[in-house]
Symmetry: C5
């Protein structure tokens, strides 16, 4: 996620030089053709086309934004639920009998969110996940297709262990199980976003129509704009392309891209909160890197 206020110029240049050049060259070709070989092309269809396309792209960016925001909301719920499970574990269970179990539950939760982060970003399970799990747990969880799910199942067993030891009763267990349900629901929601792209029509048609529009635009404008066509047409074309790109950037909020949600930073936030909740030393929060990107 980009947190800097202004874009780095080099990133802007890298992002737009290609479409800019293509658009400009095409607009110049059309303008020259018009002066060499005058043709008559009314602007009305371009206006009509542009309006409908604007509505279409607007709807698509809107959907993409909502997916991005829903993804953020689901990670927010995950942060809340992580705090809730830690608070419940710490307060419900007696010391010193259950101290070690509490630590395990908290460690497991930190491992869980990191495992989920790796799964969502399609990365292999990294050191953040493995370091907090005991060896045999690690092996067991890694055998599951859905590693995060395996870790969560194990947390449920730890809680039941506390009940069998008489440290909590079934009501307190039910309360903690309800938090596990919240966690499982957040995870499910994230997997839904990850595994379900926008419908094919919303991926392919806007791209097709926008490019078609950029091709037709100078033809429709040249009679009116004359030699100013390359300028006017390129600016308008870039604007439409920018709106198209916004949709692509936001639609998959769990990819590993500069526009995506800062899962690393959020996992660290959870780690700090949870370790401090059981009185352990916590690492530093993650800040944006030197390019102003929070990962």
């Amino acid at each position: 996620m980009i947190v800097s206020k202004v874009p780095s110029p080099s990133r802007v240049v890298r992002a737009i030089w290609k479409p800019l050049t293509v658009l400009f060259v095409w607009d110049v070709i059309v303008t020259i053709t018009y002066y060499v070989l005058p043709f008559s092309a009314p602007e009305l269809p371009v206006t009509l086309f542009g309006t409908v396309l604007g509505l279409f792209l607007g709807f698509r960016s809107n959907s993409a934004y909502q997916r991005w925001w829903e993804g953020r909301g689901l990670w927010g719920l995950m942060i809340n639920a992580s705090r809730n499970i830690a608070r419940a574990a710490r307060n419900f269970m007696p010391d010193p009998e259950a101290t070690e179990l509490k630590r395990q539950i908290v460690y497991r939760q930190i491992a869980y969110v990191n495992a989920l982060r790796c799964q969502l970003r399609r990365l292999p399970q990294d050191e953040e996940v493995l370091r907090l799990l005991p060896k045999h747990e690690k092996d067991l969880a890694l055998q599951r297709v859905n590693v995060a799910n395996g870790i969560l199942d194990g947390t449920g067993r730890r809680i039941d262990e506390a009940r069998r030891n008489g440290w909590i009763d079934t009501i307190q267990q039910a309360q903690m199980e309800a938090v596990l349900v919240d966690i499982a629901n957040s995870q499910g929601g994230m997997e839904r976003l990850k595994n379900t792209p926008l419908p094919f029509q919303y991926r392919f048609l806007p791209m097709l129509f926008t490019h078609l529009f950029c091709v037709l635009l100078p033809i429709g404008l040249v009679e009116t704009l004359q030699f100013a066509t390359p300028l006017g047409s390129t600016i308008a074309g870039l604007m439409f392309l920018a709106v198209l790109t916004i949709g692509d950037d936001l639609v998959d909020p769990f990819a590993n891209d500069i526009h995506d949600l800062p899962l690393n930073a959020m996992c660290r936030t959870i780690e700090i909160d949870l370790l401090q909740a059981i009185g352990e030393k916590a690492p530093e929060a993650l800040g944006p890197d030197k390019h102003g990107i929070l990962w």
Copy 2:
């Protein structure tokens, strides 16, 4: 659900050659008539018509998309609830007394989601459903009008059996019953989407108006576009038809069509998660077929 990034050309050709031909022929007829028998047709009404129709189609695609996304969300909830019921069963009930019952609950849930899939797609209950149920259960469930519902009722009875055996207490039963309520609510939401089409007006009028618009379009444009009419008018017409088609494709997310939700794949995901949760061997996940379609 189409997961490939670009459309297969053959699918595109099959999808558009008919409307393309009809539109083009009509546009050519209008253009020829105009040159043979000049008439004066101002473009204003076409613009006004096009704008209002654009708003109308936009609203309709939007509603259709929301139905599709709601359908996906409901299956997401079903996946979550399936994991929750399995985790609760495994953790709450004691081993080895309840081991067989846990297996039954998990098997029933896999049978349940497959039964629901068949019902939603209006297919007969297939082998996936039947193989995991004991013989007499199968017969009992198949007598119900709503087979999935019958299987769920039976799961509730299994849970009560565990309570009567003293394996869980009523609080744990209540916790598990709450998950059954989540499952029943998801099912009910899916049946609502399946059984309630868009209101008649949103099915019939956009189709009528779009076709009418395609008929009027070349008449309104021919004076301006002259001999370029067939090209301009056909492109614009196809665009409106495309938006109309999107609505039709997404409105029933549980049909058995290439644009619909990949229920097979999601049922398989549930099967894998649940079997691994009780330590059994799970089948492979389903991937897209060779045409890039996930069913």
Copy 3:
């Protein structure tokens, strides 16, 4: 609710012949006047008016559709809750002591949804409601202003009876009471939709502005469209009237009209599900009548 794919021609004719005639006659009058007594009327204000009106009508249809869909969602919740109360009753309570009580709870729920249906449609309580209630219950419930509410209160007493008999404990009672809360909330939501029309401004102004627009339309178009005015203006006018009508049709989803929700069919669905859940013989599902309408 209309379930047929194409509209019956007779229904279409009946629905549009009146506005069609009025619009057409007025458009012809304006056109003739123009040829007899030429006047100059620019089209711009009509375009501006049309755009703003389009936005206004669009918003209103949208709100009406959302009310309709919310109504459907609330009945969906009612179906789910009915299944949940039946499943809980059947599974929590012991046989054979509580068999008769279970039957009563299921019968009451069927009576309840039918009573609610009659209340929402402003019909007198019909035979469907009364046949399943014992005589003295019937009299008691019918004395209440809100009959459905009275039946629900009685169901709550039956559940408490089961608790006092020691058939269920207070946890199971709480679980069932939570389902009654769901039922009461659905009912309350339906009554809210029924008793709260759209704000006056959204009922009156769109009607006023649309009719004003239909009057002004031919005056604004005649200079451009010439003798084609009656055709063009009538089509455009009908389109705006159609959008206006959609709003009126959907805004009260619980009326007893062809566009409204099929409450009869949904009550029957509940009846079938619930009777089969306790192993009794269920009636047939209701299908659309010969005009393709599901009531």
Copy 4:
């Protein structure tokens, strides 16, 4: 809330004669100036201005409508919760020991909703509130800044009294406390709507821009509409003013105005439901007054 289908003419005249006169006089002045002292004023900026203003006003009416509908939804939840607390009290607590306490809980809830109504409408606590509370309760509650909140706190103590008497156990108390949480949440939501107007920008700018637009409109139209300007411009101006007014009317749904929610009628509905639930005689429902307004 206006429930009559057509507006009373006198109300319409009273509502629009002032803006109508002002608009018309200004439009006539502009037209006369134009004929006396011709000036050239192209219509384009007016169209552009009108479109953007239309979007702006559209968004604002939409927000206002959503606030109004949310307010209605919150009162709907209050009605449901009132029924739920009464049903729970009646069913959970034993007769005849708890009969008096049940009556108190029901009376308190009726007093509570009336107190809330007075608070939201910024009226002093009226007789409806006070008559149902015992003398010392009245004094205690009236000392609180938030009277309704004080009454609710007292209801919670009554429920705890029942628990201390052994009439209900803590599970049943928790179930009733959950309903109190619903009630407190509804109240909080209503206070949020009441105390948070639309952001300043959405209150001031639309008013400013709409009036500016009404001033500019005849100047932009006079060249095209000529002597028809006063008519065309006044109609268009009134339409924009109407949309502006809708926003103002709906934005505060708890004021004491003809467009606001019928809190009196809804409090009476609750009173009838609750008194009948404990078998007491209930007053009549409130209907609209002779002007077709439901208060």
Copy 5:
């Protein structure tokens, strides 16, 4: 939050004199250039640009408003939950044994909301937070990265203390823990809004496009508006800038700005409600300052 109905003129002047001057000077320069060195610049691209930009800005203001309203909703939930925790504490726990503990829970909740307020506004923890906590608590909480979270954890421990003392049972504890979950969820939602700005594209591109539009506007209008260009173009430009600014003002509802949510006033509301709930003397409510701003 501005609560006054009309803006203070000095604030308006301060807000707009800079853009007003810049726009006007530029518009005059363009107009003079046009008269000195006539050029031909058609208005079409400006219209097309303006429409697309209008949609874009509209979407952005909409999103910003929704964030603002969500932020208000989350504080509303916090107010409700604060009342719920106080009511539960007061009613569930016995007097006089638990009187001191109840007071602590209420004081902690007041400290908690004030700590959260400081965190969200990026202010150091102020006197409001510290005065209500005992010395050692203060030190403990201030060591946490997330101070509010630390206070909440401590409240959970107080509640468990009540359970260990036998003052409440685990069911009542679970009920109170559920309120703590509500509180943690509200806090998490607020932190989500605070830490997640709008995506970069929605922050940077609207600003860029709006400024570009203001530059191009007089060039496109000058041929039509002639010497009225500076007036027309400045008004239109200001309007677009106003809409741009709305987005910036609302997008971060927890900043310490005149447009942001009145967290001080809401914390005070909670303090009054909670102190009165345990019968202590409460301070006065906070009103708007002399500029009509509620902080």
